[in-house]
């Protein structure tokens, strides 16, 4: 991995994702910090990334590197954790039963992925599916169920749906831009994860040195 990618490109990308994922457009634009539970999920996600070799912290922080390079590595790890927490905050509904269900869903998924101990490619695929499903459920399905601007039939169905579910599923309507911002943030986050210094690349680099030595 180049010094520019480690010191500049990836931390800036993760910070931009943090900003975009915290953005709540509306009549008054709001910036929402990650919840405490999102931070716990972020730590689990980083553990999964390290376990699978998607992120090899030893490549960016170790005793053989200069202090400045280790600071860059530390900054990269810190921005990764914050961006991960913001991603979970972004994908979780704001309130009610869906928030609880999503929280349990993400927690179980992270623990399950750790237990399965998949490799880098499988973890990246699994995260794409997890975040994609979360995006569709929150920004497409729940948003459609909570949209007050629909036609008369839609509103009748919404009232019936609220009656059946005792109003625990519907959420506050979101700004039309929210879904687009979330989509860009998710794609950027997955791209950034694939650019992290991985254990597989370190291994292949060291094998190449061994072959040359032989």
């Amino acid at each position: 991995m180049t010094a520019a990618r480690e010191a500049l490109h990836l931390p800036i990308l993760f910070l931009t994702i943090t900003l975009a994922a915290g953005l709540r457009p509306g009549a008054a634009v709001m910036l929402t910090p990650p919840s405490l539970f999102s931070l716990i999920l972020a730590v689990l996600l980083v553990a999964v990334l390290v376990q699978s070799g998607t992120f090899a912290p030893r490549r960016v922080i170790n005793e053989s590197r200069p202090a400045l390079a280790n600071l860059n590595g530390g900054m990269l790890a810190a921005t990764l954790i914050v961006a991960s927490a913001q991603m979970f905050s972004l994908l979780m509904p704001d309130a009610g039963l869906p928030r609880t269900l999503f929280s349990v869903y993400f927690l179980v998924l992270m623990i399950n992925t750790m237990a399965a101990s998949p490799d880098r490619v499988r973890v990246l695929r699994s995260l794409a599916v997890t975040f994609g499903a979360g995006f569709v459920l929150k920004f497409v399905v729940l948003d459609a169920l909570s949209d007050p601007a629909g036609g008369r039939l839609a509103r009748v169905l919404q009232v019936l749906f609220e009656g059946v579910t005792l109003g625990v599923l519907t959420q506050d309507a979101q700004h039309p831009a929210a879904g687009y911002i979330a989509f860009i943030a998710i794609v950027a986050f997955l791209a950034a994860l694939s650019l992290l210094p991985s254990a597989a690349r370190a291994q292949s680099a060291s094998s190449a040195i061994v072959v040359r030595d032989a």
Partner: protein, 169 residues
């Protein structure tokens, strides 16, 4: 990449990342609602923020003529970033005067006034704001805040018939 060039890239990367992270942290803490508030907040941090003096003078003129909605519009135009304590004081004062009534006060306007005067107090150096203006009865942010809070409370004195003879400040 040579070692010296790599050091420059790493140092620049660290500096830029820290500055960007501080900026994002500042945005999350301050919660600016518009781009004007972002730029105004940043320029006030370095002491470079200036209100639109002409709009402020317009606001004062409207305020003295009891045109409170117009006054607030002019004051808001003068201080788009909501970073000037004096302008926020006058916006709150306009809410107070418009909401004041001989028989009852408008709670909604008073609540907005209270919110604005709290902002003005937060913006003023050490929370102290004194406005020496001839003919103006309320001269400090603390007095205005107390008036607004009194207006929002229901007290026994609210039912005193002599209340109708009190004067607006």
């Amino acid at each position: 990449m040579s070692r010296s060039r790599e050091t420059v890239v790493r140092a620049a990367g660290l500096t830029i990342t820290i500055v960007y992270a501080v900026l994002i942290g500042w945005l999350f803490v301050r919660q600016p609602a518009s781009f004007a508030e972002v730029t105004g907040g940043l320029s006030s941090t370095v002491g470079a923020y200036r209100i639109d003096q002409q709009a402020f003078e317009d606001g004062l003129r409207y305020f003295r003529n009891d045109q409170f909605a117009e006054a607030r519009a002019a004051f808001e135009r003068a201080d788009t970033a909501r970073r000037d304590a004096l302008t926020q004081f006058y916006i709150a004062y306009a809410f107070y005067r418009q909401g004041w009534g001989r028989f009852y006060s408008d709670d909604q306007l008073y609540r907005q006034g209270l919110e604005t005067i709290n902002l003005a107090i937060a913006l003023a150096p050490e929370g102290r704001l004194v406005v020496e203006e001839p003919g103006q009865e309320i001269r400090t942010a603390d007095e205005l805040k107390a008036e607004l809070e009194r207006g929002l409370q229901v007290e026994a004195s609210d039912f005193d018939p002599a209340r109708v003879f009190r004067q607006r400040k």
